[in-house]
Symmetry: C2
Subunit: 323 residues, 2 copies
Amino acid sequence: MPLQHQVPDQTVSRSQFLCRYASTGLATSLLAMSIAAQAAIVVPENPLKAKPSTADLVKTAQPSDWRQPDPENTLYLELEKGRVVIELAPLFAPNHVENIRKLVREGYFDGLAIVRSQDNYVVQWADPDEKRELKTAKKNLDPEFTVSVPKGMTFNRLFDTDGYAPQVGFSNGFAAGRDPKTNTTWLAHCYGAVGVSRDSAVNTGDGTSLYVVIGNAPRQLDRNITVVGRVLAGMPLLSTLPRGTGALGFYEKPEQNVPMKSIRLAADVPEAERTHLDVIRTDTPLFKAIVEAQRNRGGDWYKRPAGHVDLCNVQIPVREHNK
Amino acid sequence: MPLQHQVPDQTVSRSQFLCRYASTGLATSLLAMSIAAQAAIVVPENPLKAKPSTADLVKTAQPSDWRQPDPENTLYLELEKGRVVIELAPLFAPNHVENIRKLVREGYFDGLAIVRSQDNYVVQWADPDEKRELKTAKKNLDPEFTVSVPKGMTFNRLFDTDGYAPQVGFSNGFAAGRDPKTNTTWLAHCYGAVGVSRDSAVNTGDGTSLYVVIGNAPRQLDRNITVVGRVLAGMPLLSTLPRGTGALGFYEKPEQNVPMKSIRLAADVPEAERTHLDVIRTDTPLFKAIVEAQRNRGGDWYKRPAGHVDLCNVQIPVREHNK
């Protein structure tokens, strides 16, 4: 089943700002003009050493560089305009993930709505009528803001400076923070992160209302709220929703709410209706090279490599394949 | 003239994730339930010390804490759905700002279109037909990726760790980087930053095609392209545009382009039709307190202050007033 919108590889290529219209003549005519000298500091035109971009590296990926998310950890949020695919991270929030699976299998979310869209921050869904009853799922869970580092969790550390965590890196495909003093880890609030809304008391979240980050990484939320996964595909279906004009971006009128047809576990969806995604593994030499390609970009367009990449600026490539 | 969408103060309040529906009874009933113990690490419920939020601090602002952007440095991008207000930063890009003023006054942009919307990255406008001629404006300018620190520029440094620049802080209302070794400064690519598209050669930008950041701060672009200002109001008009499905988020069909009615300088717009914005000054004790309120949030909701704030996570409050 094709996605309405695929998540593209966001990586900046050397032609990122090359206007596509340039090829029809404008660029050539611009280049041919003699330029009056201006007062600014002139950047040397010495090109950076050519080096592979993320896209180049992805082309070299072997089957072992890709992983297929477990259908038991994959949610399909079905909106009228298409499907959002979420990968859950049970190693980081085992109790919340278990509860969300129960909520999904109870049909808890079916027919609910996205009730909030705050620019440069989050969208959030909930039961607008507060009428849904829980069946097997629990109300209120103890927080999983951080967890003790579990067995089986990889950690490919990013040695770039980070202000929000003692250590950052990638664990089993997710951007994460770590504190070696307490041997704890947590998911970072990067673009597309999915978290569990809560009230002021730490145990008031249970997964009945989830939010997705649609703006600049709000890392101040890290370790203050339980993050359960991230969006792998379909982000534009959420990021382009009209912003709510109420406080905190809530929609002010019920008719502004965005209906959710359903949330299903991929495991419960017939094979033919599934979205088959491959995600680049984060514990491989290839991924290390991809991070370096994003840290120090080469080629014609960039003139000054950053020498750094923020945790949430690392793009983990995802592709859809037919099965 | 009211804005279609105002830029709200994005600051996370302690009630950020308090579902607005909670007040009608759900939260109370949830709190009254006894909670089964879970296996996660339990966060202490000790509340953080109450301290003023950004919103609290803004309420204490004196007239001298606010500034009114110069109408000669203010652009109105008029879309069918409303107005986007951009503040230009001539201290950072004097030649490009001068050229953009000329382009605006020539009517260069009127009737052009937004031709690109790439998720978690940028929107960009240009002449889709490449037919526009320049009159007084120049084609191709030498880059202003950085400038020598000019006289009259304030710098309120943020001492928080930053991976992309030797120093970061706020200059005359804008998030900026600095390198004391070269005595240069540049605008940072934060959410809402407005930059000048270019081809691979550094002098191929002139302001005829501009982009606005709509995603996680792409700081790797800093010092690689000329940034001329930032959006003060109306971001949702850009951030919610349908994403382009072509390479780099370009719209694939001409009819997908988003028409721009015009771009005007506020100085050329009759007083009664102007959008009157106040922006919090960044060189005041109040702003220092606002930054601290965003670095270490207090109150009931947050359990762990971040002890850090990224340059692009600092929200500079803006309000609209009637005149």
